[in-house]
Every structure is written in C-alpha cells, then in structure tokens.
C-alpha cells in the first residue's frame, strides 16, 4: 500500500527557478496540508510538528525516557547535557515511564493546547523498548486524547512495528541521512547489531536496510511516516534529493531536511573535526530542490529530547520532577477543558484558512507583479500574527514574498544555539548575533523595535517594521512587499530569467 503524497501531480510552477515559487504551499493561500487527502489531514491538522499551520497554535512535548542507543552518529555526543543547549539529544533529567506519564498529564492539564507527546531520546526510543512502550501503553490508556509519536534511527524498527501499531501511535519519524552505505560510513562510525559492534560500510549497510524495511512495514500498517535527514555539506547534501525520491516512493508523507548543528564545544566528531553546517541559503536551496518531489517540512525547531511547549519555546522548567510531584491533576476534568479549547482553536484555524483563501483569490485577480522575491523575518509567538517585540524574539520566522505570494521558508534562532552567557564566543553582543542571523532578509516585522536596534538594523540593510503589529503574518508580508514594489525598491526580474521561471 502506498499512501498518497503531496505534489503527486506537480503544477508547472513547481519546476520554477529557485527564488520563485517551487513548493505546493506557495501563494498566500495554499497551506501545505490543504493538498493532503482528508484521512491524513485529519491526523496531522493539530500536530505542531507535521503542520506548519498547526505549529502556531498547538504545543508538543518530549519525555526523556530512552537513554540507550544502538548506533553512533557523528553529529551526536552521548556525554552532553546542558541546560542552555537546545538541540536534539540533549536533556536535563531522565525519567522513568511512571514519571513520564505523570509529567505528560501535568503538562496536558496545564497547557491544554498540548496535543502531542513524543519520545525522541536522548538515545534511540526503540533501543529502549520496555521503557518506551510502557510509557506509550499507559498514556494510551490514561490520556487517550494525546497523540503519541516516536522517532528512531530505524535500526530496531522492523522488530517494533507490531508493538507500535498496538498503541495510539499514528506517526513515526525515521532519521534517514542516506541510502548509500559508502556515504553512511561517513556519518555512522558504528552500529550495535546481533551482539557485535559493526563499524564502517558494513554497519551502515545494515542500518540502511533496516530503515528501509521498517519504513515499508509502517506504511503497510497504515502508520504515517515522516523522514528526517540531517544536511551535512560535502557528505550527503547532494545525495538528499535521492533520499527524498526513495522515501516518497515508499510512502513517507513528509520529508524534513534539517541543518547539521556542529560546534567544537559539543564534542561531536563533526564539531571537533571542523565539519561545517549548511548556510540558510544552502538549506533553502536543497529544500526547494527536493520539494518538486516531495512535501518538505520547513518549520522544524530541532528541539531537545525533553522540550515542552509551542515549537520554539521551552517550558520544561515549569515541569521538573519536584514540581510535578506537587501538582494534583484531575485528568478527567482536564480532558473536558482540553476538548473545548481544541475545538475553539480548530474553529479559529478553519476561519483563518478561509480568510487566507479569500485573500489569495483577491491577490490572483490583481495585476501580477514582475518584481524579484524578498526575504522577510517575522517575530511571532504563535496564533499566526506578528506579536513579539524585536528585542524579545528568541527566533524569527523567515518568509519569502514574491509575485506568486508568500511562502514560509524557515525559522532562525536569534541567539543561535546557546542561551547562556550573552558575551560568550567572540564577544559579539546578542543584538549583533541577532542581526547576523537575519542575513539575507530585507525587512523585519515585529510588534515594536527599540531605538538602538532600529539604527543597527538599518545600517545592516534590514528595514525594521513595527506597523503591522497583531496582523496575520501572510497579509502583512504581502502588504509590505507591495509597498516596496510601489516604491520602486524591487527591480523587475529580467525578462530572460522570468521565461525560465
């Protein structure tokens, strides 16, 4: 059985040049989820990780119950644990299944928009089958209104499919960085397989076979599969379009290409050996080149294995073990409340989707611009509106405005991966770091901007804009784009380029 995948019937626009409109979610109208079959859309419409739209409204959490791993990846260091770090594989406290269940229910009762519980490590969830499945089993009984997800490197996946299908789990994420064992050997130094540590190409080959087999088995069971890939320049970057084609043909419904995070202080192989991560441009180009083949996910925050809250925020501190111990949770009452809130959010999302569609229809009727695309950064804390002060933004969402409409490109962290000492590293201020993170953007939209950052942004060629506070992101970005066009700030695309677009 093969699940229908987005972009199965590519529109002519999808073959456009980069910088134009190459994704199915182009235009201010089409949400990537609108083109999904109803059965899948129903499953993902309130899943913040799977739906770009939903991630503005719904929250997720990870519980760190799975410490053991059965492989080594060159971007991972099993020794690392830092409260200031936000990246996969990092956690502060390991939980037993019982503690995880308590924590999940405490969060679900306190943050009713939390819809999804994932197990993502800090090791491999399926290399800890007892702890992982005990957590899932109890949650599907005690908190049936929570969606359960798991992510895995795939090595132990074929043996786990049967058990996964028994619980309330309808989404599995497999990290597949390659389908070529030679490339695999440059990413995975070893695997533990059948009572032996197997190194190099031989180990990578087994891992790849298990991943592909597990993927096929999940699809056959009707479980949705998302594929994560880490983009490692010079290692698998040119190969990931092939990975996208392969996993799509087998029925994965979403591909998430993430940038490598590698710093010497993380103590990882790539970090210490000076392997660089991709630039935002390189990542966007790759995502665009894969998107002709497959629905791409661009809003992933690469969160910690114990993250709590909306994507991009972490409220883990409110739910430490000693704090949840003191909470008295009436989950039946909480479920009632959650249901009402979820319905209200759904209604709001539906009405916004209709509004967006109407706006886009209107946009289509207007004379088409011939101006070049522009990247804009937006400060938001959710609800799909511009509602964060520039200085308070921990991250920015990057949108591209073009004559085709507005599309979401990525998010960028304001202060990169460290939330610690503001002057660590090479002595740049947080403000300087933030401005550097916005490279390539010509406008930043936020609810307010202070005097000092205003001047620095202008000096860096980024126009600060606080005129669209509380407005929907797509509309505001398009309005600013049109103003820029009207003011003659956007050179027309040369005729030759347009012919290829």
């Amino acid at each position: 059985m093969q699940l229908p995948v987005l972009n199965d019937t590519p529109s002519p626009a999808e073959h456009g040049a980069k910088g134009g409109c190459s994704a199915s979610s182009c235009g201010t109208t089409e949400n990537q989820m609108d083109t999904l079959p109803d059965s899948i859309r129903e499953k993902v419409q309130n899943h913040p990780c799977y739906s770009e739209d939903a991630h503005h409204y719904f929250a997720r959490m990870h519980v760190a119950v799975a410490p053991a791993c059965n492989i080594q990846c060159h971007y991972c260091n099993r020794k690392y644990d830092c409260a200031n770090e936000s990246r996969p594989g990092v956690v502060s406290e390991l939980l037993t299944p019982d503690q995880a269940v308590k924590k999940t229910m405490a969060v679900a009762a306190t943050i009713p928009q939390m819809t999804v519980l994932g197990i993502a490590g800090p090791g491999d969830p399926l290399a800890n089958p007892e702890r992982t499945f005990e957590t899932f089993r109890r949650l599907s009984e005690e908190a049936p209104d929570i969606k359960l997800c798991v992510s895995t490197n795939g090595l132990a996946l074929p043996d786990a499919v049967e058990e996964l299908s028994k619980h309330n789990i309808d989404h599995v994420t497999i990290t597949i960085n390659t389908v070529d064992p030679e490339i695999g050997a440059k990413i995975y130094p070893w695997i533990f397989w059948k009572n032996k540590r197997i190194k190099g190409v031989k180990g990578a080959k087994i891992l790849i076979e298990q991943q592909q087999k597990g993927l096929e088995m999940l699809i056959a069971k009707g479980i949705l599969v998302k594929v994560n890939s880490v983009m490692i320049p010079g290692v698998n970057d040119e190969h990931l379009a092939e990975v996208s084609r392969v996993v799509k043909s087998k029925g994965a419904f979403l591909h998430n290409v993430m940038p490598l995070i590698a710093e010497a202080e993380h103590g990882t192989f790539y970090g210490v050996m000076g392997q660089r991560g991709p630039t935002p441009d390189e990542l966007q180009d790759l995502q665009d080149s894969c998107s002709g083949d497959m629905n791409m996910m661009r809003h992933c925050r690469q969160c910690r294995a114990d993250a709590v809250g909306l994507l991009g925020e972490d409220r883990g501190d409110e739910f430490t073990l000693d704090k949840i111990e003191e909470m008295d949770i009436d989950y039946q009452a909480a479920m009632e409340k959650r249901k009402v809130i979820h319905q209200a959010i759904q209604e709001e999302m539906d009405s916004k989707r209709l509004e967006k569609a109407a706006k886009a229809e209107q946009h289509k009727q207007e004379p088409k611009l011939t101006t070049r695309p522009v990247l804009m950064a937006v400060a938001t804390s959710g609800q799909g509106v511009i509602n964060v002060h520039f200085g308070h933004a921990k991250e920015f969402l990057i949108y591209e405005a073009s004559p085709e409409g507005v599309r979401f490109i990525s998010h960028r962290k304001a202060d990169q991966y460290c939330g610690g000492d503001s002057t660590c590293g090479d002595g740049e201020s947080v403000l300087q770091l933030t401005i550097r993170a916005l490279a390539g953007c010509e406008v930043v939209l936020c609810s307010k901007v202070g005097y000092e950052p205003w001047e620095m942004l202008e000096a860096a060629g980024i126009a600060p804009n606080g005129e669209h506070a509380m407005e929907p992101i797509g509309e505001a970005v398009m309005a600013v784009y049109k103003e820029m066009a009207a003011a003659g700030k956007l050179d027309a695309i040369p005729e030759a380029l347009r012919a290829n677009a």
């Binding site: 410490p67 080594q72 099993r78 020794k79 130094p189 533990f192 009572n195 010497a264 210490v272």
Partner: protein
C-alpha cells in the same frame, strides 16, 4: 575475572540489558558491574557485550584495568584533535 565500569559512565542504560549474566545494575553515581557475576561473556559471546554497545571511550575496563574502547576508537576523533579542541575551549 571481571570487567568494570568507571566514572566516565554517562548512565545511558545501554549495557544493562545486553549483559548475559545480569551482572550490571543501575547504581549511584553510575552503573556498576558485579564482579562476582561477570563472566566476561565467556561461553555466551566472543566479545564483551557491555563494551560492544557502550558509546563512551574508556568507561569500561578489562580485568587488567585497560580501557576496552580506547580514546578515538568509537567516535573516530583522533585523541590529539580532541585535546586541541578542548584546550581551545578552555582558553576562552
């Protein structure tokens, strides 16, 4: 004749279920091998199971006190490269 786990252990649980003799248990501050139970996998496997899944170089020693996974053997990071990176970090 027994292996031992030393304080480099990061408590990842990986070794505990693969031990054929149930010699490994969760202890504070880190997992420990019961030397009375450890058989060094003799009769069960040709290689130490705990040391074959352990991700941390130097965390498990053989009965002579030698690291079964010496520096660089698991991560592929040459020890001098690691030392360089750590020295660089400490100078900040």
């Amino acid at each position: 004749m027994a292996v031992s786990i030393i304080d480099l252990c990061v408590n990842c649980f990986a070794c505990e279920p693969v031990c054929p003799s149930n010699a490994i248990s969760e202890q504070k501050p880190h997992f420990m091998v019961d030397p009375k139970k450890c058989t060094e996998c003799e009769g069960d496997f040709p290689v130490f199971q705990c040391a074959s899944i352990c991700p941390i170089e130097g965390a498990i020693l053989d009965s002579f006190g030698t690291a079964i996974n010496p520096p660089g053997s698991l991560t592929g990071i040459p020890p001098e490269k690691m030392a360089e990176a750590m020295a660089e970090l400490q100078s900040h």
